[in-house]
């Protein structure tokens, strides 16, 4: 049963279409991440679900109720904002209790619910403090606590980690993942960070220019991208692309010729293309193997040793640049020409 349903959702500001015909189903208990470059409409989509923006057309259903005409507070959602948006003049307790006291919940129940949320987030000792006396990570937790207290059908997170430093971001990410396991609440999470998307999501929704590019489990998107955009957006360093022509097509696979390569049995993503069409061959930097007899040759232009990984930038004889990434630290130097091979099953044709 779908907990959140978006049907043909459209949103335009003035004459710019920010969200185009989005259809989406989110199941109960699922952790869904909207990811995409800035300006792709992911935050707008979240605000549409929250009711902070009005739809141009389409339908949004939360817990079997159409919510288009309901104000945010009656949609069964709770939201965690990028800047936390804590009320600076209220104690942590009152920040968390604000929505309940507006709803005229009895005092005793407010106290119980706030203390319960504080226990879950291990911040009972912070309840009397003002937000200004808290660290970034603690503020983040208060913001999450404020959402938990409302006991919503859906949690909405709008880039909640982007204001934290790198170390804290990792810790908080882990905490959010644990919290989701513990509460089992349906969650929609917006980020531009693919690492957050890959690690947190049950289901990733990749957006570009207001359109859904692909929806699926993280590894599904990583291994079987539906299009060039998803392929290049997920994964670091980015996927390499080589231009060439489509040779013969046989069902799901096809062969590729170009850039001195001749590969058979590659997954054909652009199914509408026929033999002779110009295509791009995509292969991840991690899927290349150093092989003196390989057919992909390139001259090294840069070697970056990151400790956990070595990223090598190369250039083919025709000037196409590509990357090779290895967990080892191979003995390579700028100016050297090296050859690679790769497994055709790991490549894609766009």
């Amino acid at each position: 049963m779908a907990q959140v349903e978006l049907n043909n959702v459209n949103k335009s500001f003035a004459h710019v279409d920010v969200i185009r015909n989005v259809n989406l189903e989110i199941n109960k208990g699922e952790f869904v991440v909207f990811v995409g470059p800035s300006g792709c409409g992911k935050s707008t989509l979240l605000r549409l679900i929250a009711g902070l923006e009005t739809l141009t057309s389409g339908e949004i259903v939360i817990a079997d109720r159409p919510v288009m005409d309901l104000p945010p507070s009656e949609r069964g959602i709770a939201m965690v904002f990028q800047s936390y948006a804590l009320y600076p003049h209220m104690s942590v307790f009152h920040n968390m209790a604000f929505s309940l006291s507006l709803n005229k919940v009895p005092k005793a129940e407010i106290k119980e619910r706030v203390e319960n949320a504080a226990r879950i987030l291990q911040m009972e000792h912070l309840l009397d403090r003002r937000p200004a006396a808290l660290s970034g990570g603690q503020r983040q937790r208060v913001a999450i606590g404020r959402a938990i207290v409302r006991n919503p059908d859906v949690f909405l997170f709008d880039e909640p980690l982007s204001n934290l430093d790198a170390a804290l971001r990792h810790d908080t990410r882990v905490e959010i993942a644990k919290l989701h396991k513990q509460l089992g609440a349906t969650t929609i999470y917006v980020t531009h960070d693919q690492v957050e998307a890959m690690t947190l999501a049950d289901k990733i929704v990749v957006l570009k220019d207001g359109e859904v590019m692909q929806v699926g489990a993280p590894m599904e998107l990583f291994n079987q991208p539906d299009n060039e955009f998803v392929a290049s957006f997920l994964g670091s360093p980015k996927m390499n692309f080589f231009e060439g022509t489509l040779a013969d097509v046989s069902g799901e696979t096809a062969s590729f010729a170009g850039e001195g390569l001749n590969v058979q049995g590659v997954r054909l993503v652009s199914k509408n293309k026929t033999a002779g069409a110009s295509v791009k061959l995509g292969i991840r930097p991690q899927h290349l193997t150093l092989d003196p007899s390989g057919s992909l040759k390139g001259e090294i232009t840069l070697v970056e040793r990151l400790g956990t990984e070595t990223v090598v930038e190369l250039s083919t004889s025709s000037g196409t640049s590509f990357r090779f990434a290895s967990p080892e630290s191979p003995d390579l130097e700028v100016g050297q020409t090296v050859a690679f091979s790769f497994e055709a099953e790991r490549a894609h044709l766009f």
Binding site: A50, Q82, Y84, A85, Y87, P88, H89, S99
Partner: protein, 297 residues
């Protein structure tokens, strides 16, 4: 270690700095004296008897301190034919300034909140027009305003003066609050909406409690403006509703016979005391409110 011994010995540079610093202090002290001189003369003159003023020097301290002039100024000096002193006019000014300051501040806060946080079509235009209103000279509006007050049946009354001051205060108070509220993150409003607060609830429970510094600034500004106003006071009042500034003018200008400088000085100080009082007690918030603004959560 070498650094330590070096910094302990007074070098030539720091000696020069010390001299500069003293020159600075002396200059500042001279300026302070210069500015305090009139106040000193006012206070000492108000404490002297007329006899002593006539015979003594202007800047001499009073030989004998007497509060007679203050008593006369407060309750016995003549404004034209009445001789009740400043007292009734002082209360007129209080009755005028308190509601006018409160109303214009509240309206300014609401305006600023709407313009800064609820962007609607034409918000910027309305704000620019309000700013424009700040720069219209008062003299220009005297006649139309007199007509308007007459039509409203408020001519010559204290509520009429309150109305005029509220209208002319809104431009500035809106400007103050709008500039303060634009620094409050918009996500705060969104969070409150998600929490179920409506327009007025967000204003009342979130924005007003965050506004203390700017409220103080606005109150000081408005109180000073309204208390010290003479033009509106003299134009739109009649016998019995005149504010203290008009009464002060009448005391100083309409006496016949011997000029009672000590009474004039005492009356002027009495008229200025409330604004001084407000500034001294709320002054530190004034500076803070003008410079601060951003509310970081």
């Amino acid at each position: 270690m070498a650094d330590l011994t070096y910094s302990q010995s007074p070098s030539k540079g720091s000696f020069g700095k010390l001299i500069l610093r003293w020159i600075l202090y002396i200059l500042l002290a001279l300026f302070a004296l210069y500015y305090l001189m009139p106040l000193f003369v006012m206070v000492t003159t108000s404490l002297k008897s007329l006899e002593e003023i006539r015979t003594g020097s202007l800047i001499a301290l009073p030989r004998e301190i007497t509060f007679d002039a203050w008593k006369t100024a407060w309750s016995g000096a003549c404004t034209g034919i009445q001789c009740e002193g400043l007292q009734p006019y002082f209360w007129n000014s209080v009755l005028l300034a308190v509601p006018a300051v409160a109303l214009s501040t509240l309206i300014g806060a609401l305006n600023g909140y709407v313009i800064a946080q609820w962007q609607f079509r034409g918000a910027n235009l309305i704000f620019s027009l309000m700013l424009f209103g700040c720069f219209i000279p008062f003299q220009v509006v005297l006649l139309p305003m007199a007509r308007l007050l007459g039509m409203m049946g408020l001519a010559g009354s204290i509520p009429g003066l309150v109305f005029v001051h509220v209208i002319y205060g809104i431009g500035f108070t809106t400007l103050f609050f709008r500039n303060y509220y634009v620094s409050i993150p918009a996500e705060l409003v969104k969070a409150a909406k998600v929490d179920g607060a409506n327009f007025f609830r967000i204003f009342w429970s979130i924005f007003l409690p965050l506004s203390l510094p700017i409220i103080v600034v606005t109150v000081i500004w408005q109180f000073t403006q309204i208390w010290n106003d003479f033009l509106f006071g003299v134009s739109f009042s009649q016998a019995g509703t005149q504010p203290i500034t008009v009464a002060l003018n009448n005391i100083v200008n309409s006496t016949t016979g011997v000029k009672e400088y000590n009474v004039d000085m005492a009356a002027a100080i009495i008229a200025a005391l409330p604004t001084l009082f407000v500034y001294v007690f709320a002054g530190k918030y004034f500076i803070r409110g003008l410079t601060a603004g951003s509310v970081k959560g």
